[in-house]
């Protein structure tokens, strides 16, 4: 075995630093990757050309193309169009609905980013939950897991697999084909869905059938309080002496005092204003409509001397279901709203809709919601006219569960989108054209056929993923080039001694699973592939299989809500971390068993 050189020590220090920064998250993961991209050539561990080779790698170009193709499919509304026939096939049984939607999501996820597929389906799943009266918590986790598992069906399904061939290139190993992983991926999807269908009642939070999608496991101790739906509307009339001998009362005051949101108010002389701004004054002898708990409405009526009407009267027509409504929106991944509070966004002034509550990690926030800094996966309950909600929807950044006919789609382009996807696949399979070239052709085709504009294509690209991939590739090169990977591999092997290929692959699978839980799946892949290839070569096991295990097992991220898909579904599903641990542990174990068994079966290891 080669002795440890200063360069190897330096590389191992850089790996340690990257892992440390991934875990502590002092800076974002993509910034860590850029840090590596810049530091490695400065330390002469890679050449300047090698430092930036990731940006022009097949993996990075492929992922850009996959994202654009995914955005194109999204624009055509194909996904929503798929839901209706899928539901028809599934019928009303919740198990069949879970199977049907999960399979659909997995198939779509195999050709686009997992998080993209998960985000696309979220509004549709919310609608299904409401229509079929199935708690969202029973649907979202199986479907979210299927989106992650679906990424293992093809070589373009998830970032680690896209990256795999680039990482194998320095070893002169035969690259994997687009569908080489398909049998294993399908088995993984089937086993994941199977676990939920067979054991769902034991591992999933069951929720409440009556209030589908509105299960409340809030930390705030107010379970005994709500006597009504928090979105129920009440009309009141202020007394004629309401403004006498007192400070002016504004819409905002009623929200802060009674946790009631004024959704309509009469302004002089007799304008009926829907979703009034917080600084609108509440005047004498006018009608107003509030949204909130009945207890609070009664308290306000009593304290302020208002008359609570039996039902909507003045606003019966203008607040009809055809004109206004309330929707739950989810802060989407990469949303411009994430990291800002509703006050920072000037939300009510800009969009003229009323935010009613924010739901995050088992908690429903009703008080001071304007101060809450929004995070990806937060669920915001909004009330307003459909027109204004539609305008907000167009802004992007929020996943809406709007009636399907309100979504801005280009259904007439669906055929073009499908055609270009098929052309890309035919180029890969039939003509053996390189993945990046074929996929970029598909992406370009979608732009030329106006499925989406070039600006929309640019906007859809997630630069975080791109720089994460491109920035970590030089770290993989340095690990291999300095001999650090070989040294670590030999050291590990000398400790564990001779093991059979199956045991070695299992150990690699477990190692990859643990790595992906604490650092990103891309980071785990880049760091582990050079290592396991060296280990496999030394242990006389197929190095391609060792790399494949890493590429697949880095998708085995179910036990914690750290995976982007899990983080996105946690809020709307009202899941707790313990729910992920319970269901995720089982799915992770089944994943490892099925993966090793299938690799043994398909590749004869």
């Amino acid at each position: 075995m080669e002795s440890l050189t200063p360069d190897m020590i330096l590389v191992m220090f850089m790996i340690g630093l990257a892992i440390f920064l991934f875990i502590v998250e002092w800076v974002r993961v993509d910034v860590v990757a850029i840090l590596m991209m810049v530091t490695l050539p400065l330390l002469h561990l890679v050449t300047p050309k090698e430092a930036f080779v990731g940006l022009s790698s097949n993996a990075v170009v492929s992922i850009i193309a996959v994202i654009i193709i995914g955005a194109g499919l999204d624009r055509t509304g194909m996904i929503n169009n798929l839901v209706a026939p899928v539901l028809r096939i599934a019928g009303k049984s919740s198990s069949r609905i879970i199977i049907a939607i999960s399979v659909t999501v997995a198939v779509i996820s195999s050709f686009m980013q997992n998080i993209g597929a998960a985000a696309l389906f979220l509004p549709a799943i919310q609608r299904i939950s409401k229509i079929q009266k199935i708690p969202l918590s029973r649907l979202l986790m199986p479907i979210g897991f299927s989106a992650i598992l679906g990424g293992t069906i093809t070589l373009v399904g998830c970032s680690p697999l896209i990256l795999l061939n680039d990482l194998l290139a320095p070893f002169n190993l035969k690259p994997f084909g687009l569908f080489d992983v398909t049998p294993i991926g399908l088995a993984l999807v089937a086993s994941g869905i199977g676990s939920f269908v067979l054991l769902g009642r034991f591992i999933l939070p069951q929720g409440d059938d009556k209030a589908a999608g509105e299960t409340d496991s809030s930390l705030s101790p107010e379970k005994s309080e709500p006597d009504t739906d928090a979105t129920e509307l009440f009309e009141l009339k202020t007394p004629d002496d309401f403004m006498d001998y007192r400070d002016p009362v504004f819409v905002e005051d009623l929200r802060r005092h009674y946790l009631l949101n004024v959704v309509a108010i009469t302004e002089p002389p007799d304008y009926n204003v829907i979703s009034p701004l917080p600084d609108v004054e509440v005047r004498s002898g006018i009608d107003l409509v509030v949204c909130g708990h009945k207890n609070d409405v009664r308290r306000m009526a009593l304290n302020e001397g208002m008359h609570l009407k039996d039902s909507l009267d003045t606003y019966k027509d203008s607040l009809g279901a055809q004109t206004v409504g309330s929707v739950e929106v989810v802060v989407a991944p990469r949303s411009p709203f994430a990291g800002k509070s509703l006050e920072d966004i000037n939300f009510q002034d800009r969009f003229r809709v009323t935010p009613l509550s924010v739901y995050r990690h088992e908690e429903t926030y009703r008080a001071k919601i304007d101060d809450i800094v929004l995070q990806v996966g937060d669920v915001v309950n909004l009330h307003g006219t459909w027109n204004r909600l539609k305008a907000l929807h167009k802004e992007g950044g929020l996943l809406f569960s709007l009636p399907s006919d309100m979504e801005e789609m280009r259904p007439e382009k669906a055929l073009w989108a499908g055609l270009w996807l098929i052309i890309a696949l035919v180029m890969i399979m039939g003509f053996k054209i390189q993945l990046s070239v074929a996929l970029m052709t598909g992406a370009l085709g979608m732009i030329l056929s106006r499925v989406l504009t070039i600006d929309e294509a640019y906007q859809s690209v997630d630069w975080r993923t791109i720089f994460l991939l491109a920035g970590l590739i030089p770290l993989g090169i340095a690990t291999e080039k300095t001999g650090a990977a070989a040294w670590i591999a030999h050291t590990i092997l000398s400790v564990i001694g001779d093991v059979s290929p199956i045991v070695l692959l299992t150990v690699i699978g477990i190692l990859s699973t643990l790595f992906t839980l604490v650092i990103s799946n891309v980071g785990a892949t880049v760091l582990l592939v050079p290592l396991v290839v060296n280990m496999a070569i030394a242990a006389h096991t197929d190095p391609r299989m060792a790399a494949l295990v890493v590429g697949l097992a880095t998708s085995n991220s179910f036990m914690l809500p750290t995976h982007q898909v899990n983080a996105l579904y946690m809020g709307p599903g009202h899941y707790r971390t313990v729910d992920f641990i319970k269901a995720g542990a089982l799915v992770s174990i089944i994943f490892l068993i099925v993966m090793i068994a299938m690799i043994g079966l398909v590749y004869g290891v």
Binding site: L219, S220, P221, L259, E362, A367, I372
Partner: protein
């Protein structure tokens, strides 16, 4: 009418000023009584409370958080006392303990060091040098205390509405200024201000109940709607039980909500 806090260094004549102001305005003067109240309500020896509000936290105390608990108890006792207005508080750190209330007139009284030394010498029958060292040590402790708990410098004039240096100005001049200021419109106890003080009392009660087990929580209250700000690791079943008990037992709480990982507002206790 108003609530007046008089902050001062040792032997700075603040006590005499407070008593004269209270006499002229027919207010109550409170000082050490709040320590007794807190001691009785929260079952903590008075000496510990006195040390907590005077001495800066030691290294171990920074980790034990006992000082935060004691200060929360004292604050709660103080706010309960001022809830009916017309009060001059002459004890330590009043301007910090009841921050955020608009009708509290915050006064800082300082005196010439030579006159302070002279008063100390006369009261304790000690030489000038010793008196000077004792006064400087006392000032240092208060500086460290305010730094450690509130990250403020007690000498910072922006913490007060009125700073009076008793040297050329007499005690009577100071009393005149304070009384005129207290009677101005800005310090009138309006309905809104009264509600704010009631809310602060509620927030302080909630904080005092939780602080022993959850030292880093922060609490606000507005119109009886209590928000408890906690970090992610504090979101435990134990906290839920405690919050349920609080909600059931405190009649003036209409709504109680926990906000996890949300920036704590500056007016939180």
């Amino acid at each position: 009418m108003a609530v007046i806090t008089i902050s001062r260094g040792a032997f700075s004549l603040g006590k005499i000023v407070a008593e004269k102001v209270a006499e002229r305005l027919h207010y109550d003067v409170i000082s050490r009584e709040i320590l007794l109240d807190a001691s009785t309500r929260f079952n903590v020896p008075e000496i510990k409370l006195e040390k907590a509000i005077h001495d800066a936290p030691g290294i171990l105390e920074r980790y034990r958080h006992s000082k935060q608990s004691y200060v929360a108890y004292i604050r709660s006792a103080l706010v309960e006392r001022i809830i009916n207005d017309n009060v001059v508080y002459n004890g330590l750190a009043g301007h910090l303990l009841i921050k955020g209330l608009p009708h509290v007139l915050k006064v800082r009284i300082t005196a010439n060091i030579e006159s302070r030394v002279a008063i100390e010498m006369e009261r304790n029958q000690i030489p000038a040098q010793e008196a000077r060292i004792l006064i400087q040590e006392d000032d240092k402790q208060r500086l460290k205390w305010t730094h450690a708990l509130y990250d403020h410098d007690p000498r910072d004039a922006s913490l007060y509405d009125l700073c009076i240096f008793i040297d050329k100005l007499s005690v009577d001049n100071a009393v005149d200024f304070i009384c005129r200021a207290a009677e101005s419109e800005a310090f009138r106890a309006t309905d809104k201000n009264k509600q704010k003080i009631k809310d602060l009392a509620t927030a302080c009660r909630v904080k005092a109940t939780l602080v022993d087990e959850f030292p880093n929580i922060a609490v606000t209250c507005e119109y009886g709607n209590v928000l408890v700000y906690i970090s992610k690791d504090q979101a435990t079943g134990k906290l839920i039980k405690k919050l349920n008990t609080i909600r059931d037992n405190m009649n003036d709480i209409y709504h109680l909500e926990t906000h996890t990982g949300v920036p704590v507002p500056t007016d939180a206790v």
